[in-house]
């Protein structure tokens, strides 16, 4: 795989806030998902890839050039930024046409119509963009990013606000562009969304690159972490003593008056064990709650693991 994007030991800080810390990766053709919770540094990385902000340390090379200084590189990058704002008084066609003209596309009118068709928007819709729904505006942003047929496409949370059908449509569009030999980088904080891209994944958390590789390898890594489950019952002490040493349980502690927090490596085994222990000890279960199945804790685990 020849690298189209090379990020080498890049850090970025804003005053005292470290947004990105010592991140390195290289990307070739195809779709790469940048996964991480809000505030993980994904958007900052994407902005550096487009030259919108320089790294405080390290180097970013896109198509062999500096995306911040080299206008020939800029010409070959398409970006869907995260912010909502568009040139509100313009129609979708005018907005995308402007992008095509500024990019120096030979036939901007035809290119704009074609880009709007790619995202299933009507070029003859004369309404101003301010009258568009969030999903339509998102698709207009994608159209302006693709209008100049860029070699590198950077998409910051491009599926926000889209209905399920449009999500599927855009995911397949991005995959087609990637299969076509372009480098597509898509950020997301939704794990299931990334699965649909079915591609290489970079996981970011707390400004660091926490993991990278195939989606399934990352998923397995996430599933290997211990899970914490809180159980509320009418006799937590009896339940805790029954669970100690049981299959799949690596730790038990009492919490509050009726709570027991159990750590397990296999939530499915714990479910079976819990039912047996509760029945044998005549304990009535009130509530079983996983404590850290949210994405934030998954990312935290990936960052903190040795």
């Amino acid at each position: 795989m020849s690298a189209m994007i090379e990020v080498d030991a890049v850090s970025k800080w804003f005053g005292e806030l470290v947004a990105v810390s010592d991140v390195s990766f290289s990307l070739g053709a195809g779709v790469t998902a940048l996964l991480g919770p809000n505030g993980a540094g994904k958007s900052t990385v994407l902005r550096m890839l487009c030259g919108l902000t320089p790294p405080s340390k390290g180097t970013v090379r896109v198509l062999g050039g500096d995306p911040r200084r080299d206008l020939d590189v800029t010409r070959r990058i398409g970006l869907v930024p995260q912010q909502e704002a568009l040139f509100e008084g313009r129609s979708a066609l005018q907005f995308v046409h402007l992008a095509a003209v500024l990019a120096g596309v030979p036939d901007p009118e035809a290119a704009a119509r074609s880009a709007l068709a790619l995202v299933e928007l009507r070029a003859d819709d004369g309404r101003p963009l301010s009258a568009y729904s969030k999903g339509m505006r998102q698709r207009v942003k994608v159209a302006q990013a693709l209008v100049a047929d860029p070699d590198v496409v950077v998409l910051d949370e491009p599926l926000n606000g889209l209905d399920p059908r449009q999500r599927l449509h855009l995911i397949s569009l991005f995959q087609r562009i990637g299969d076509d030999g372009r480098c597509v980088v898509v950020s997301s904080h939704v794990l299931d969304e990334v699965e649909r891209f079915g591609s290489r994944v970079l996981v970011m958390a707390q400004g660091r690159l926490a993991a990278e590789g195939d989606y399934h390898a990352i998923r397995d890594l996430m599933d290997d972490r211990p899970h914490r489950i809180r159980i509320r019952s009418d006799d937590p002490r009896a339940l805790a003593s029954g669970l100690l040493g049981a299959d799949g349980v690596v730790g038990v502690r009492l919490e509050d008056l009726d709570g027991t927090v159990v750590e397990t490596l296999d939530a499915a085994v714990l479910r079976r064990t819990l039912a047996v222990v509760a029945r044998d000890r005549a304990v009535r279960l009130h509530e079983v709650t996983p404590l850290d199945d949210d994405l934030e804790s998954v990312f935290r685990y990936l960052v903190e693991r040795p």
């Binding site: 919108l52 206008l71 800029t74 909502e84 402007l98 992008a99 500024l102 990019a103």
Partner: protein
């Protein structure tokens, strides 16, 4: 026109049109046109009164309407209407897209940053010129100061607008509170500090535009003396330096 030049113009014009359209809002136009109308009304009131010729301290005798008209254009036009109008439009030309987050759609195109800045400044100037110069020329005419005063008003306001447009275009890229800083610059620096000493006065755009007004209308106006070439060259140089700085700033800054 060569194909290369044609491509340059084709890429610059859309930015110019875009900024132009975004700047012309009803609220802005209404407020500034109202200010211009006030100027014309005051000019007419000055013209209605009888004004005998005045002998100045240097012995020069100046027609009363000409002197009153020139002083009014200097005080109202060059000190208020021109800088405030330039501030409203020029600071918004790149400041608004920056604040809204749409600047990225211009920045992330293979267009030289200087072209973006020039297009924005040109658009601001296009909107501001008629808003400023037409009412000021009408006001000058209404004072009955004569044709020379009208010509001097048009020339000095046009020249001052060049300098202020450049300055405030750059200011819009430097701070998000460009209106506040711009007003401080106009009223505190130019209106107060720069009047305290000749050396400080030479760092105010108003000094040069006032000098042009006085020279063309043949009316001595108070303020530092500025030589003939400087009064024309400095405002243009200020605009050029400010726009070069704005280009540098646009190239170096983070884009949201």
């Amino acid at each position: 026109m060569t194909p290369r030049a044609s491509t340059k113009v084709r890429r610059r014009l859309p930015i110019y049109r875009l900024v132009l359209r975004s700047q012309v809002t009803r609220a802005r136009l209404a407020a500034l046109v109202a200010l211009g109308v006030v100027g014309v009304a005051v000019g007419a009131a000055l013209g209605r009164a009888d004004r005998p010729a005045e002998a100045l301290s240097d012995g020069t005798v100046v027609a009363g309407h000409l002197l009153a008209g020139a002083r009014f254009v200097n005080t109202f036009g060059l000190s208020l209407l021109v800088p405030v109008t330039a501030l409203v439009f020029a600071a918004a030309s790149l400041g608004d897209p920056d604040e809204e987050g749409t600047l990225v759609y211009l920045w992330l195109r293979p267009v030289r940053r200087s072209r973006i800045v020039l297009a924005a400044a040109a658009a601001s100037y296009t909107v501001a010129w008629p808003v400023v110069v037409v009412p000021l020329a009408l006001a000058a005419a209404a004072t009955r100061g004569g044709a020379h005063l009208v010509v001097a008003t048009v020339a000095s306001a046009t020249l001052a607008l060049v300098a202020y447009t450049g300055l405030f275009c750059a200011l819009g890229l430097v701070t998000r509170r460009s209106l506040v800083w711009g007003l401080l610059c106009v009223f505190v620096w130019e209106g107060f500090v720069a009047t305290a000493a000749d050396s400080a006065g030479r760092l105010a755009v108003r000094t040069y535009s006032r000098s042009v007004l006085g020279d063309l209308a043949s009316v001595p106006l108070s303020g530092p003396e500025v030589s003939a070439p400087l009064r024309w060259v400095v405002p243009v140089a200020v605009a050029v330096v400010a726009l070069v700085f704005a280009t540098w700033r646009l190239r170096r800054r983070d884009i949201a």
